[in-house]
Symmetry: D5
Subunit: 164 residues, 10 copies
């Protein structure tokens, strides 16, 4: 089990009366230390409660965001990740930009070895958009992993979409 000092950076998990910020605020993100830094492993977040605004029309957009990464020294704490994603609620951006922004913020936060973000948005005008972006630390094997996974993206088990 984790010692007190191993989780001392965590201020939001289990906290009462967390304030929800509905304007984009990457500074809310918190981390904890990776206890298995000698080993590559995957952590994946499934986030079906993402909503933002269309920057042109102002109408709400909805998506499920999937985030997978290989941690290095520190890891993002999931309650703070939730609050970060919630902060897109009243923020306007294109689907394609949203996944790029999320990835940039998480790279900056925890400098992961590898990370990928897949957004699956609900349709507008009968068409839905699913952007995907990934990253491997430059000049390491993780950069090659990023290239390999990018090339094979979405080839298996492609969603059947019928808008119902």
């Amino acid at each position: 089990m984790r010692e007190k000092n191993e989780v001392e950076n965590i201020t939001l998990l289990g906290k009462k009366n967390v304030k929800y910020n509905y304007d984009y605020c990457p500074e809310i993100l918190e981390t904890f230390v990776n206890k298995h830094p000698d080993r590559d492993y995957w952590v994946k977040f499934n986030c079906p409660e993402f909503t933002s605004l269309c920057p042109i029309t102002g109408q709400p957009d909805f998506a499920t965001i999937y985030i997978s990464y290989i941690p290095d020294k520190i890891m993002v704490e999931s309650k703070s990740l939730k609050l970060y994603l919630v902060s897109f609620r009243n923020h306007g951006d294109f689907h394609e930009d949203v996944v790029n922004i999320i990835m940039d913020d998480l790279i900056k936060l925890m400098q992961p070895r590898y990370i990928e973000i897949w957004g699956k948005f609900l349709p507008r005008g009968g068409i839905s958009i699913d952007p995907y972006v990934n990253y491997g630390r430059p000049n390491t094997k993780y950069e090659k992993i990023a290239q390999q996974r990018f090339v094979q993206h979405d080839m298996a088990g492609m969603d059947k979409i019928d808008n119902r």
Copy 2:
């Protein structure tokens, strides 16, 4: 969030009384600038509302069209893409030709690094046809990506089809 000048080419999204053209009109397609051109990423459109006509019998055909691409400098705007796909409504062509035409038009529009089109049509005479075509910019790594994805096409998660 995007600045005004970053979306100035977009005239259809959020516009009132857009006129729907039901004759094939690739000129309706519009683009906007890619804000992340230094990075490869995927954009996928799921389009379950495609319909065209059989060039021999005139009867309507129905399909779901999946479009995935890696943008370069400019990107297709989704509302104009919708209007473009709608313009096949009273146009007659074979299933196999339709996906080739869509890909040619999108390559011409935005010169993507990579693009692929997968059409899944409803059955006629108990048989359904699913054509697939892809493209990588010649003499770049994207041409190799195209070859690799082409070879492995439809090997994973193949649809179970029972015509019900």
Copy 3:
């Protein structure tokens, strides 16, 4: 097996070069004689290829139409039913009106003992609309069947809709 004279009204089924009419034309509907008029039985048509236009915006709408009826003396022939449904292709009407019109036309055509129409449309603006209408011949037990089925409509196996 049916005798020649039992199918003499059928001119479209198996016919070459049927002309597809894309303007609403109920007159294309054809019938054949019910060989089991002494018995109540159900006939159901599943029609996933329905498309019409929005009367306000002109944009295409898509639906699956389910038609169930109890025949009386004559029955609608399915090829002509297909051509009839196709004739809504370039016709504009609200979802709620479409199912009422289809039912009125089929009642006029074959005076069924009972009939019901259920339309399940694809979403617009994140909301999909599913209108349902039914009819039992007035002052017969079929009117009571209509009332009973109407009261219990859509209570069982309700569709899970998530717009994907």
Copy 4:
């Protein structure tokens, strides 16, 4: 376990070199005695391998046939039922007629207390047809069961049909 004399009418089950007859032959049906005639119970056959011909165009039709009945004194043996259904293979009839014929033959064979037949055919021209017919022995409570089940037919768990 059943005694020899309780299954003496069964000649086809487990028999070598049964001859398959591909012309409609109701006389192939066999029965065995119901050992629980004092009790109402249901027997249901699921038959996904049904095929017949279109009487107009000659093209093959495919269906899953569901048969449910309440036995009286004798019961249909399943191997002979299979051979009976196989005998429609090169026989032409409308979907609506097929289910009526099957029901008439089974009523004649075993005079069940109640029986119902539901055919779910594959689409032709984008439309599939699902006829349903039922029967309760006249002037008994089974006639009322037939009426009640008929009225509520297909209200629950209606199939979602998208022709794929």
Copy 5:
């Protein structure tokens, strides 16, 4: 097709630059006239994009809202319904209260013969809540319909929930 005067109350559908209001505003709802008032029929809206706030913690809640009604003289227009549901975005209320409020507003708007609202919310603390409320016009047969549907609510095809 609908005449101009039959849709003259509709100001939002197809309009450019509709302003999205994120504070509860029932006054945005619009109606159009029912062209089939002599007939009972069902209209159902599937709304998977609903989000509101928890009144205690302020955290976002997500739900799919299903609305079914039998129209009387006027009917709610779907684009305005969308804007109305969007207006809960930054509004806080308990799940159980939300469905009651929506129903009250729609009754006030169009005095339907019958209406029902079913909310299916995403889980909090491992438990999800699905409130359901319905209404039939008092002292009419619709009140009895409401009672009958209420008694049988959710007995068929109950969702399997595993929080994934």
Copy 6:
């Protein structure tokens, strides 16, 4: 929590080296006392591991058996129920007989207020058989429950069977 004396008849649950009997042995069934006899409630067993033999050909048959009952004073213990069902392993009987036998044995064992058995067998010769039988204590309201459930049997959520 149950006291020792409330479970004293249970000898098989948690016992080491239970001997599996593969010849039909209803005497293995055990019971425990119903602690809520003043209240009607349902207990259902889902048993997907049932196998017996065909009495004519000797080949193994497989089924899922669903058992639902309303207990009276005593209830069947599930471990002993498992051993009872296992005892059909090398026993030969028709599908239709098997469900009747199971019901008779359980009625004899615990005299339930109500009980029903539904067997869903794997196909032989392309056809699968699903027998169903039920019982309500004669001359009580449970007899009426049996009649009502029997009449409505299998009308909702009917299995889609395609033999794959």
Copy 7:
């Protein structure tokens, strides 16, 4: 939105450092006032995270618990319901007893007009058990609702169980 005084009994929702009690503690349940007491409506809780112990063998059992009720004057708060269900974690009881206990506790807590509990447990020895119990306030119409729902329990959309 709810006023402060309308939620003053709620001490656990949004509270920091709630202590999880793993021994059965019905006293942890909290309530809030029903703002719509003049109207019957349904509230349903889906609880897939239930676990308790077998009273004979001590091994853990797992279930999804579904709770549906019609509130009267007060309603159970969902965070306290969660903590109550968690308190079965190290408590031993038979499946059949667990649902009876939960119902008794919730009746005592909030005296609902109607309530029902359905437990769907994971298999032991290849058999799974799904107990169901319900209650309507005696000598009111809710008692009749309980009887009607009890009679029709689990007839629609029955789960297909194959233990995988």
Copy 8:
């Protein structure tokens, strides 16, 4: 759209009174010219209506046949493909032979760059058989594609088969 001369070999599509041949007749296959011969692309046929006979017992077999190919100069026309597949109706062969024969016929017809055939048959005696065969033009890159796809056959999204 295709010019007249581009489809002049097509005689069956849209033709009235096509005669259905139920004895194996590969000569019925027709072709049309590939308009995109400079590009590799995939065409896939989903054929769920295949039936043939067992060469030993004479009993009917049923399968879904999936055909995928990369066209060269000419392409098989789908109506003629249907008639070809129909011609197996009264023909007897082993499952393993059927897919080999279909592939040989299609190679001979259109000399494709690559082709693969996957048959998924319904069970006999509780076991179903799924043969798969593929081909790449010898001494070209397509031969290597064939080898690579062969090695990875059926590793992803393997069907779950339970014979129901």
Copy 9:
């Protein structure tokens, strides 16, 4: 179609009164000649009716066995394969041993170029076990195929297991 002499080794298919042996008997396996030995192709058997005994407790185990192979000169006949699998019925062995034994027997029988066996067993104690074993003829390319498929085993479309 196959000539008589091409199937002369087949004695069980279509035979009357085959005796079912419930003790492990690999000698019952029969073969027929491969008519396409110049070509690599896949044959897959789906076998959902496998049952054996636990060697420690004697309780029955159930599994679906998937067998895929590339034939060389001879091929296993499916009726004899069924009887072979049936012969495990009263035989006790660990899950992990069963798949090894089946593979060894089939290698010995027909010396295939490649073969793989995947068993998916039902859970015991809440855990299910899925062993997988494969083989490629030593010192051939098939040995490499075996290594490649082994490395990638079960990475795609992994079953979701929830024991219901």
Copy 10:
């Protein structure tokens, strides 16, 4: 079948009154000898009944744990594995730590050639976490297998997560 001496280390399987330990106890794990050590094969455990505690809040967490390994000389016995997993019941640790601990314990127990652990946890705060870790024996081909599988992790058949 296994000899007595081949299973002599197994003390828990089939044992009466096994004591369930709810505090983390890796020492409970038992092994048996691998009878096929000359061959690489896969063994996979599906474990949907895993529960532990959150180390910060103390609230219960739930997961399905998938364990796949290639055995070397000894193999973990499944009953003891169950008891080991049960011992996390009242133990607190982060999701990411749990899978690392399980893998470390199983490596220490049986020194497998390869092993991987995938945890799929239920959501907290609308987000679910799925950690994955794997291992191949250092300086063997199994280390390379680990690297290859790690790179391709979760690319095929990705779960669709909607928290319902």
